[in-house]
């Protein structure tokens, strides 16, 4: 009896597949065409577009130009009112840069190394495990019973309160104990055919993205507490490389999953299906077929993640203090030390900008070469 219904299901699925396949491949083909050429625009529209672009260009570039010239000003040239052109309005000076390289303004060499190490490592890890999850969410069906989720929260919360209040466990210990039990119970429960609504892939993606809805101030403080307690148990996480990297991985995973799922879903599924007929194992399909096809999307997502992490401020503020301080903290610190010393702020901001501008150039090269077309859909 069971076998028969299963076969019916399978038949229905195969019919669906056969019906969908030609349409899907046609879609995939038509997407390969080059970008739309709208040179056929009327002259009036063309002028409007160009004016709009130039206006936005001025708005975008002026503050950056302003930062650039301010970094070469002397204090009088800043405080005496706005000056615009070097050698015309003011005599450029290298004082801000001399201060920075002499180490008067904080240890730039070390924070740059820290920022580079942490943001690169965290981006790589987030991209690897994030795109694995994104691929799974794009291709495999998942079913989570809503009751498994509710029970998970109930056991984790209740167990934490009981462990912390009555058994005198540490906060982190109580929570991880309760969390582990809750997870096992929830996974086992989910194997049973529970009644009630079933959460699918879209809901799981929404859950991942919703992790970014909570105010970061509270998350950062709670993480600081958790790291402190784990530190008492013998694993120092505060102000360490792995402490900051781990939290950055978790912090960027929602965005990686959200973007990469769209990129993977856009790939034609037939190639993978053909490989599956030949009994190629799933992990090899992923590594040798899917990842190369999604390379442009991976590159774009990697760069967005890297930019976010390079600029991250709040978590770095809470979770590091001296050894692993990152660049944004040092940039922000330029302001509060002795009032508004804008030449120093500008120079520090420029130092943190340069690597990102190199990235912007690489990103736009990739986009222009058409590597990134076919992305995000």
């Amino acid at each position: 009896m069971v076998d028969v219904t299963r076969r019916d299901d399978a038949l229905a699925q195969s019919e669906e597949f056969l019906l969908d396949a030609p349409e899907a491949s046609a879609k995939a083909l038509s997407r390969r065409r080059g970008p739309r050429d709208i040179n056929a625009m009327s002259p009036g529209w063309k002028a409007l577009v160009l004016i709009g672009l130039v206006v936005w260009l001025v708005l975008t570039a002026f503050p950056i130009y302003w930062t650039l010239v301010t970094a070469f000003k002397t204090p009088p040239a800043v405080n005496g009112g706005p000056t615009y052109l070097p050698w015309v309005d003011f005599e450029p000076s290298l004082q801000a840069w001399i201060d920075i390289f002499a180490g008067i303004r904080g240890q730039f060499d070390r924070t740059i190394t820290n920022s580079t190490l942490v943001s690169l490592t965290a981006s790589v890890i987030a991209i690897v495990i994030g795109s694995m999850a994104a691929y799974a969410l794009a291709r495999y069906p998942y079913r989570v019973s809503i009751w498994a989720g509710v029970i998970f929260v109930a056991i984790a919360l209740g167990g934490y309160l009981i462990g912390f209040e009555y058994f005198g466990m540490s906060r982190a210990g109580a929570l991880f104990g309760a969390g582990a039990i809750a997870l096992v119970v929830a996974i086992l429960l989910n194997l049973l055919p529970l009644p009630g609504p079933i959460l699918g892939n879209n809901d799981i993606v929404f859950w991942f993205v919703s992790q970014r809805m909570f105010p970061p101030v509270v998350v950062a403080f709670a993480l600081f507490l958790m790291y402190t307690e784990v530190g008492r148990a013998g694993f120092t996480l505060i102000d360490t490389f792995w402490g900051l990297t781990f939290c950055y991985v978790a912090f960027s995973l929602p965005i990686v999953i959200w973007l990469m799922r769209d990129f993977f879903a856009a790939l034609p599924v037939e190639v993978e299906e053909a490989a599956m007929v030949d009994n190629v194992p799933q992990w090899r399909i992923f590594l040798q077929i899917v990842v190369p096809m999604a390379a442009p999307g991976l590159a774009a997502t990697f760069m967005i993640t890297l930019a976010f992490l390079w600029n991250e401020f709040l978590f770095a503020l809470f979770l590091t203090n001296s050894d692993w301080q990152t660049l944004p903290i040092l940039v922000a610190g330029q302001n509060s030390q002795r009032g508004d010393e804008w030449w120093a702020v500008a120079a520090a901001a420029l130092i943190s900008i340069v690597p990102m501008i190199i990235m912007a150039i690489i990103l736009s090269r990739l986009m222009r070469s058409g590597l990134l077309s076919g992305a995000s859909k």
């Binding site: 195969s14 879609k27 997407r31 080059g34 970008p35 739309r36 709208i38 709009g52 672009l53 936005w56 708005l59 002026f62 503050p63 930062t67 009112g81 615009y84 495990i129 994030g130 799974a136 291709r139 495999y140 919360l157 929570l175 991942f208 993205v209 970014r212 809805m213 909570f214 101030v217 509270v218 403080f221 709670a222 939290c247 978790a250 965005i255 959200w258 599956m276 007929v277 194992p281 799933q282 390079w310 401020f313 944004p328 940039v331 922000a332 302001n335 804008w342 702020v345 500008a346 901001a349 943190s352 900008i353 990235m359 912007a360 150039i361 736009s364 986009m367 077309s373 995000s376 859909k377």
Partner: protein
Amino acid sequence: MSTVAAIGSVRDRDPMKHVFIWPALAVVLVTVMFPLIYSLTISFMSFRLVPPRPPRFVGIDNYADLLTQARFWSVVGTTMTIAFLSVAIQYIIGFAIALALHAKMPGSAFFRVIFLMPMLLAPVAVALIARMVFNPTMGPLNEVMTYFGFPNLPYLTDATWALGTIIAVEVWMWTPFVILLMLAGLATLPEDIYEAANLEGASKWRQFWDITFPMLLPISAAVVFIRLIESFKVMDTVFVMTGGGPGIATETLTLFAYQEGFKKFNLGYTSSLSFLMLIVVTVIGILYVSLLRPQIQKRQ
């Protein structure tokens, strides 16, 4: 046919599906579970770090106190104004610029690099630069404006102007995000539909509303959603530029949470504030998704 049929069930039962998803799930669970559960429990307590007193259970007092406070509602209003206005402007400008850059034209590579830059700067640095530019005596903006005969404007010290300035800075910083993703979306549109529309003599205006806009609705929905979520948490810009002032005119939810938690060390209060914010953002998110999903499905 039986092999094809087998594929569907192989995908469903393949153990690899768990191997693929669990690393990410585990990392997010471990990092997120503690902050959420910890702050949920202390949101029902009176918990101050300075002076250090043992936490005391107060039930829903924190929540009730917040909901009856005029400052809370003013902060909610400010946050919503900043989030909705700035995201709407970002989307309109960003989409328009993406459309313009999508056309083949000389110098578009140059435009793309410059246009991406604001997004790649640290928000703290952007806020500091903005403070320079908008400064009433040392900043260039007021000098240029007075040169053209406008009065010297209190960009950061007048309630309405300060709110407008913050929105402008948010738009400046995050429009590139919209441009980048809308460009990627535009690149996926099939050319032949436009050829057919051209043959039928449809105007560019009609083509945009009947083809481009509906086909980009899914990616638009995703971009706007992410920007809304992130805008609700806006803090560094406001903190550096106005500090929430004048008075509390530009105070946002996260800044309010920060002031209560780390100026007054009132952690229970801050946690309940965060949960109220989570509820607000989740409700907006669910409303948004349920309003848009039928639209997206209808048009596809």
